[in-house]
Every structure is written in structure tokens, then in C-alpha cells.
Point group: C2
Amino acid sequence: MPAIDPAAALGLLKFDSAGLIPAIAQQHDSGEVLMMAWMNRDAVAETLATGRVCYWSRSRGALWRKGETSGQQQRLVEFLIDCDGDTILLKVDQDGVACHTGRRTCFYTAARAEGLAVIEAVKISPEELYGK
Amino acid sequence: MPAIDPAAALGLLKFDSAGLIPAIAQQHDSGEVLMMAWMNRDAVAETLATGRVCYWSRSRGALWRKGETSGQQQRLVEFLIDCDGDTILLKVDQDGVACHTGRRTCFYTAARAEGLAVIEAVKISPEELYGK
């Protein structure tokens, strides 16, 4: 996709007191919700400029170019902002798997009447993802 | 759906320093991401027990039974927890519209190369939703 000037989006977005905003990633064609992570202003600007999704890692305190270690990148298809300007929905094309456990989505645990259930199998082992 | 004992889910969930956790609502059959809001422990417990989605309103500082004013309720279909336990994905059946602007989804503004674009029309006027 073409590079997008981030000025308009940044003017609409409301970052929290830590300078962050939640971003949901959804596979653009299947509709699968893959993960939720956080962005700061730099991550938003880089994502729009490059078309490759970049988050802010709260644990590492650094920009996190999704897939930089695992190879499982996300290409931006559509960048959506909610009515309050305080949440982002990224429609993406996910390479391989989004979750560090090797599953397609991070949302693989269901709370059901019979208890917690793991409803998705591992597709790529974490050793294969991170051991290279 | 049957009532779900919240103990197992609450044992897995990590609430932030304000006692809240983000919850994404997705229409269970179409895959449409409708909104993102926040839950506290009581909202999680009530949602699982009743099968009707209840959030925590940060602006009002009170439980927010989705649709209590507008009539646009969300019935819980599946309650999913992510790999880190710090985000919830609710698969729901949404009555009417999820957004207070009268749109089906809150994510109706796209950041594109040509600028911001509103990509969804209002389906029910806010006056009709809240004026009754």
C-alpha cells in the first residue's frame, strides 16, 4: 500500500498518560482477531509510512517491528480509528502466526461452563519461531 | 448460553493498576470488530454469569450494561482470553448497532493516503437511540 502521511491520524488519536494507545490486529480477509498490543506516536507514524506494523513493546521499552525476531510480519491493509479516537483497529495480512506460542491468534483460551478450554493448536513450535 | 463460574477466568486475567482490562467485542458470525471497552472484575463476573455483556464505564465510574440506555445489547457467545491474560475477546451477538453514533462498529474512520475517510454510514440516528 502507499505510504500514508501520519499527521491526520495523529491529530485524531488520543494517547493515554503513558503516551500509548491500544491497537487490535485483525486478519483482513478471514476476520480473525489475532492480537492486541500498544502503539506510541512513533509506532503509528512508522506503521503508516512503511505499511509494516510496528508496535511499542511495554516490556522492552522500545519500538517492536512485529516479526523482527520470529519473521512473522504484519502488512498493513487498513488503519482504522474508533469513534473516541482512543483505540486503533489494524486490518493486516499476517505472515504465519501472530502469537509467540506459535498459534495463529493469541485468543486461544475460552472460558466455558465446563472450565477453561484451549481451542486452537500450535501451528509452529516456539523453538522454530525463535530458535533460529 | 449457560452461566459460567467466573473463578477460572478471573484467576487467569491480569488487571491493570486501575483494576481494568481491555475487552474487544466482535460479532460472532460476521467477524466484524464492533468496539473496545474496559472491564473490571465485577464486569467480568456479571458478563459470565448472565451471558449479557457488561463493561466498566471509565467516564461514569460505574458498571455499564451495554444497551441499558440504547437498547442495543450484546449477548455473549464466547469469552476468550489472550496468551498473556491481559486482553479479552468477546464474541457477541450485537442487537442493532454497537456505536453511540448509530453505526454498526466504532471503527468507521480510515487513515488512507488521501486523508481520513468515514467508511460506514449511520444506520440508526443517535436521537432515535438515546432520545426515547
